[in-house]
Amino acid sequence: MSTDIAERIANARREAEFLKEKIRESRAVLNDAQLKLMSQELAPLNRLNIRIRRVLKGHLAKIYSMHWASDKRHLVSASQDGKLIVWDAYSTNKVYAIPLRSSWVMTCAYAPTGNFVACGGLDNICSIYNLRTREGSVKVARELSAHSGYLSCCRFLNDRQILTSSGDMSCMLWDLDAGVKLQEFNDHTGDVMSLALSPDQRLFVSGACDSTTKVWDLRTSRCVQTFTGHESDINSVQFFPSGDAFATGSDDASCRLFDLRADRELNIYTHDSILCGVTSVAFSISGRLLFAGYDDYNCNVWDVLRAERCGVLMGHENRVSCLGVASDGMAMCTGSWDTTLKVWS
């Protein structure tokens, strides 16, 4: 009886080795080029004219997160001074300053409609604030509690659903009307640090301290792809604008580009002189530029196709902790531990 099971285990092991070899073969056949070599015929981008256009001052402590609104003009920032501030990036006015119940905030998000903002951190809770109440004041709409670890990232799908990632190694999808968890996404073996929604909202990608990024199907809750390559914690993930690829930033001082359909890493953005971790990444609207924020106070601008650095944005006096590109591609905003946000264009 037990020898029968032992035999079945041995057969299954042989089948596994056979499958792994077939996968290796088919991947080798498809590995027929390099993106950066195919991009050599494109002109290098060496005259970027990106400079600081606005400085947003007002936070009293390190800024940990920022997120643009869909209206390309407003943005929300979160600081460990215990406040969320909603800014008008054109005028630098503060539209709302929202005091938080817990000052240990690590992430914030703006709903696509502009009706809500969300935040969370070491309190393990995702708090939702209604910006457009009938009374006119900002109010807590929901406090989503189910994670057993810190909230590292959150993103609204719409006014009814939000995705969260956590130090408890899971991601969750929530119903905001009922205030309950709808789905749980478990497969990472380390703190999940960042997530990004695909443009069509059918998939999302997560990056974690297990050095992998995983692609999840929102309908089935299943992990459909896993990408390896990074040598340390992944701090940030962002989709390429077409939704067919995504970029990652890691403590291993590199950013990488992974393609969903080719199912592999296509480019690595790194330099011998860059030794510090990447905190945040964002694509420009065409996907040609990748902005990456680093621990060394700078933001490097990478040519996504040619894998060359085409600019360095120096302007902060401490770590760049977060950044984002507005949806019309006109501006990029960096947030820093130096308590300021800077809008570049």
Partner: protein, 73 residues
């Protein structure tokens, strides 16, 4: 872990491997062409060498200089 559990774990692992094997992948050259094409068709105002400079009147970060909206009575 019991032998039955070990067998089940191996079978689950093989199921995932089979899914990986059956996945339709495109080649690196095909994926590269598609990404390059996307970059070249979407207008990007942060890359003036490819898409041209932005008109001052279209730049939302330029301070408005012309006119104050007043009319002479």
């Amino acid at each position: 872990m019991t032998t039955e559990a070990r067998l089940q774990r191996q079978l689950d692992h093989n199921r995932k491997l089979r899914e990986q094997f059956e996945r339709n992948r495109i080649s690196v050259s095909q994926a590269s062409i598609l990404l390059i094409q996307y970059c070249q068709t979407k207008r990007d105002m942060l890359i003036p060498t490819v898409w041209g400079d932005l008109d001052v009147k279209d730049d939302p970060f330029e301070a408005k200089t012309a006119g104050c909206g007043c009319s002479v009575m």
